[in-house]
């Protein structure tokens, strides 16, 4: 997958900071995957609706960019990440506040909802993913690499002890993981492309809709 580079995104954000509305839309498209990833994998991911909060985050970012209180694109990145975290924290607080009822069916229900990750894969997608991983494991050049992945991801073995046990350097270990991710992406793109769509179609449409909303709000008509 080839997306915009960090340098490209910095240029776009600079232009948006300069008041370029077209660049603003591009900025929203470019920042969305990262913001979504922060919300999906961040500290409070269990408690948040990542898609909703991504939109809220981008809204806050756009407002801040328009207010011209930030002058450095890199600060926009940090601001977006911090905003995503804070919104997630607030969402988590809200949910945890609701957990004060003890020993009722409600508590169980809440606990269940809390602890289940959003189910973003159907059974058939889950199978596709498992098949892709099996293909990846079969294709690995050495049994040792295969062992690294299985022991690390499945058994939860830690990196240091695995390196010691298998006689690997930490660098080699990292390389195995990086290559595995890259290869998995290729396999998934070939076999189940919808699992690899990142950003998904919503990541294009939502920022456009968001920019459009701001445009209508600012100019009052369309």
């Amino acid at each position: 997958m080839s997306g915009p580079s960090t340098e490209d995104i910095e240029r776009v954000v600079s232009a948006a900071l300069g008041g370029d509305r077209h660049a603003e839309s591009q900025m929203l498209v470019a920042l969305r995957p990262g913001v979504l990833a922060v919300l999906r994998f961040g500290a409070f991911h269990r408690w948040v609706d990542a898609e909703d909060l991504t939109q809220e985050t981008l809204q806050v970012v756009v407002e801040r960019v328009r207010a011209r209180t930030i002058d450095d694109p890199r600060k926009v990145f940090a601001f977006a990440a911090a905003t995503a975290r804070n919104l997630a924290l607030n969402a988590a607080r809200k949910v945890l506040r609701q957990q004060t009822v003890v020993d009722s069916e409600l508590v169980d229900e809440i606990a269940q909802n809390l602890e289940m990750e959003p189910n973003d894969l159907s059974d058939s997608d889950d199978r596709h993913l498992a098949q892709a991983v099996m293909t990846l494991l079969d294709e690995l050049p050495t049994p040792r690499d295969r062992q690294v992945l299985v022991r690390f991801y499945l058994d939860g073995a830690d990196k240091q002890s695995l390196c010691r046990e298998l006689g690997l350097s930490p660098k080699h270990f990292d390389r195995v993981l990086m290559r595995a991710r890259t290869r998995l992406r290729t396999i998934i793109e070939r076999r189940a492309p919808h699992l690899a769509l990142f950003p998904r179609i919503t990541s294009i449409l939502l920022p456009i809709a968001l920019s459009f909303t701001f445009w209508v709000r600012d100019f009052g008509s369309w």
Binding site: G34, A37, F41, A82, Y153, F198
Partner: protein, 256 residues
């Protein structure tokens, strides 16, 4: 943040696994997330790391993958050891064979009991530890599957569910004075294993003191005694005046 420089991409990519596993410190995480926002490539990498974890877990649940069965590739020295061990095993087998062919007289009852015990032990696989936390099963599939054909002697559940709070009990990214939250939300935790079919309590662990930085660890010492079927693993937090289910996982015991 110099991590935005292009040359540090490799370094940042190395952090992906630790990030998805929730192993980064607060400051590392903040820095990594700013980088994540600026790099769709890195975001895709994070996504793929997650897919890899889920895919491996899914393959294991489907029985396509044996966990931790392979041994390291043997070096020459290892091979020598192997020959030595094989020779020892051979000698032992011959000794046992002689002992069986020329048995001592003993009561048939005690002999049967011993054989049964040995058979049961032989059937049980090595103890298994399952960490549940950052990567969890999907809502439609169990978090842990144990098959009778590969039943571990002991099943240890390590749920990463301890929420750390500030000293005043507030949940925040940063506490007063800029310190990180480090007080466990509950002082003690316990785990119930509840059989879903009739909501009966199959097992209740003893309470464990919460220790920041250490995962909770609940041991199911005789998992083979659990009936086949689905179970809820309920992790409950206890304080002096309050208790709460803080996590629920899904355990499935299958025959095959």
């Amino acid at each position: 943040m110099n991590s935005l420089d292009r040359h540090s991409l490799e370094e940042q990519t190395r952090l992906v696994s630790r990030y998805v596993a929730g192993d980064l410190s607060r400051s590392e995480r903040a820095e990594f997330e700013a980088w994540l926002v600026a790099s769709p490539e890195l975001a895709a990498e994070v996504e793929m790391e997650r897919r890899l974890r889920r895919g491996i877990a899914s393959a294991a649940r489907r029985g396509w993958l044996k966990r931790g069965t392979q041994t390291p590739l043997p070096s020459v020295a290892d091979q020598r050891w192997r020959f030595a061990v094989a020779a020892s095993v051979l000698v032992s087998l011959v000794t046992v064979g002689v002992a069986v062919v020329v048995p001592e007289r003993e009561t048939s009852e005690s002999s049967d009991t011993r054989v049964a015990a040995v058979t049961t032990l032989a059937r049980l696989a090595a103890p298994r530890t399952v960490r549940l936390g950052s990567v969890r099963g999907f809502g439609t599939s169990p978090d842990v599957i144990v098959t009778r054909s590969d039943m571990p002697r002991e099943l240890t559940i390590e749920p990463d569910v301890m929420v750390l709070t500030c000293e005043d009990g507030s949940i925040d990214l940063e506490c007063a004075g800029g310190t990180a939250p480090r007080t466990p939300q509950y002082s003690e935790y316990e785990m119930d294993v509840v059989y879903r079919r009739d909501s009966s309590l199959a097992l209740r662990s003893s309470r464990q003191l919460a220790n920041p930085g250490t995962l909770l660890s609940f041991v199911v010492s005789d998992p083979q005694k659990l009936q086949t079927g689905d179970y809820d693993l309920l992790v409950r937090g206890h304080s002096s005046d309050h208790e709460e289910v803080v996590a629920r996982f899904w355990l499935r015991i299958t025959d095959q």
